[in-house]
Symmetry: C2
Subunit: 236 residues, 2 copies
C-alpha cells in the first residue's frame, strides 16, 4: 500500500486503499444513500397529493429513479466492505429533522421543496465530488443526475403562480425557510462528521482547518439557490 501522497497544497491523491479516505467515502455514500431513500419516500408521499393521475404517475417515476440511485449506493457501500445500514445511521437525525421541520402543507409546497431541496443537495455533493477518486466521483455524479423532477416542478409552480400571482409571496417565504433549514442541518452534519467535513475542504490533511473554504462553499450554495428561486418565478 502506498503512503499518502501530499501535493503542495496539502491535499493528497484520494485512494480507497487509504483507510481514513475509505471511511470518509463510506460516510459520504451513507449520507447520500439515506438522502436518496428519504427522497424516494418523500416523492412517493407527494404523489398522494398529486391533483391528477398523470401527475401522480410522473412523481412515482421520479421516486423510482431515486430508489434506483439508492440501490446503487447501497451496493457500492457493500463493495467497500461497509454495512449500508451502519453507514446511513449517522445521517438519520439531520435528515429526519430537516423533513420534520419542512413538511409541505400542500402540493405546490412539496414541489418547491423537492426542487429547492434537491438543488441544494446536488450542489453540495458536486462540491464534494471534486475531491474524490474517479470511481467514487463517477458514482456520485451518476446518482445526482436529474430524474426529471426539476423541469416538472418548475413547470407546475410557474403555471400555478401565473394562474394566481398571490401564491408567489407565500412560496417565496417557504423557499427561504427551506434553505435556512437545509444549511442549518448541513452545518450540523459537517460539525459532527469530521471525515465527511474534511473531504469537503480538499483532503484529510486539512481536517477541521479550512473553515473559510466551507464558508465560501455555503456562499456558492446560497447563490445557486437564488438562481433556482428566480427560475421558479420567486424572489429568494
Amino acid at each position: 500500500m502506498d503512503a499518502p501522497e501530499q501535493d503542495p497544497a496539502g491535499s493528497f491523491a484520494a485512494s480507497l486503499d487509504q483507510e481514513d479516505y475509505r471511511l470518509a467515502v463510506v460516510d459520504l455514500l451513507g449520507a447520500l444513500a439515506y438522502g436518496e431513500l428519504t427522497a424516494f419516500e418523500r416523492l412517493a408521499d407527494d404523489a398522494s397529493f398529486a391533483p391528477t393521475i398523470a401527475d401522480k404517475a410522473a412523481l412515482g417515476a421520479m421516486a423510482v429513479a431515486e430508489y434506483n440511485h439508492f440501490a446503487l449506493l447501497q451496493a457500492r457501500l457493500a463493495e467497500l466492505g461497509a454495512s449500508p445500514e451502519e453507514a446511513m445511521e449517522p445521517f438519520i437525525p439531520a435528515l429526519e429533522a430537516f423533513h420534520e421541520r419542512t413538511a409541505p402543507g400542500d402540493w405546490l409546497e412539496g414541489l418547491v421543496k423537492a426542487y429547492v431541496g434537491d438543488g441544494i443537495a446536488e450542489d453540495f455533493y458536486r462540491e464534494v465530488s471534486a475531491y474524490l477518486d474517479e470511481s467514487t466521483r463517477d458514482l456520485v455524479l451518476l446518482v445526482l443526475e436529474d430524474t426529471g423532477h426539476s423541469q416538472f416542478a418548475v413547470d407546475r409552480v410557474r403555471a400555478a403562480i401565473e394562474a394566481d400571482p398571490r401564491l408567489a409571496g407565500r412560496l417565496a417565504l417557504w423557499g427561504r425557510r427551506l434553505v435556512g433549514e437545509a444549511l442549518s442541518q448541513a452545518q450540523r452534519v459537517a460539525a459532527e462528521r469530521d471525515a465527511l467535513a474534511s473531504l469537503l475542504v480538499g483532503g484529510l490533511s486539512h481536517r477541521g482547518a479550512d473553515l473559510a473554504e466551507v464558508g465560501r462553499m455555503f456562499a456558492r450554495l446560497t447563490e445557486n439557490h437564488t438562481t433556482r428561486m428566480a427560475t421558479l418565478g420567486l424572489s429568494a
Copy 2:
C-alpha cells in the same frame, strides 16, 4: 374484422379486434394499473414506519416493483389506444374508499394489509385471466408476480406474534375487517362496471347474467384468504 365466434357455452374467442372485448380489457387493465399505483404509494408509505433501515429499503424495493408493473400496464393501455388516466379513473373511488377504511394503525397492520390485500387482488385477477386473450393474460400474470412482499410480511408477522402472542387476536380481527372491505369494494366495482364484470363470468355474452358464478368466485377468494391468514399464524 371477424365476427365474434360464439362457443357452445355461450362465451366467445376473446379478441382485441372486438370493440366490446377491447373495452372490457381497457377496464380491467385500468383497474389493475390504479391498483398497482396505489400499492406503490402504500408500500412507500409503509416504508416510513419500518423499524429498521433494512426493512425500509426492502419495502422500497417492493414499492418500486409495483411501480414498474404499473408502468407496463400504462404502456399497454396506450398501445390499445386508451388514455391510461381515463382507464384508471372509474376505479379511483372504490380503491380510495378501501384504503381510507383500512388505514393501518402500525407497521404490523400495514404488513398484514399488504399480504392479505395483495393476495385477494391477485386471486381476483387470476380468476379473470382465464377469460383473456393470450397477450393480455401474459401481461396480467406478469404484473401479478409476487414482488417478494409475501414472504417478507409472513416472516415479520410470525416473528412478532411469536414474541408477543397477544398480538394474534388484534391482527386476526384486522384481517377480517380487511377481507370484508375488499369484497365489499369489489362487489361495488362489479356492479358498476358491466364490461369488467362480464369478463369475470366468462364472456360478454353472459353480461350480468351469471351471478351464481360470481358468488362461487367470491367463495373461492374467501377460502384462499383463510389459508393466507393461517400462514400468518392467524385465525380467519
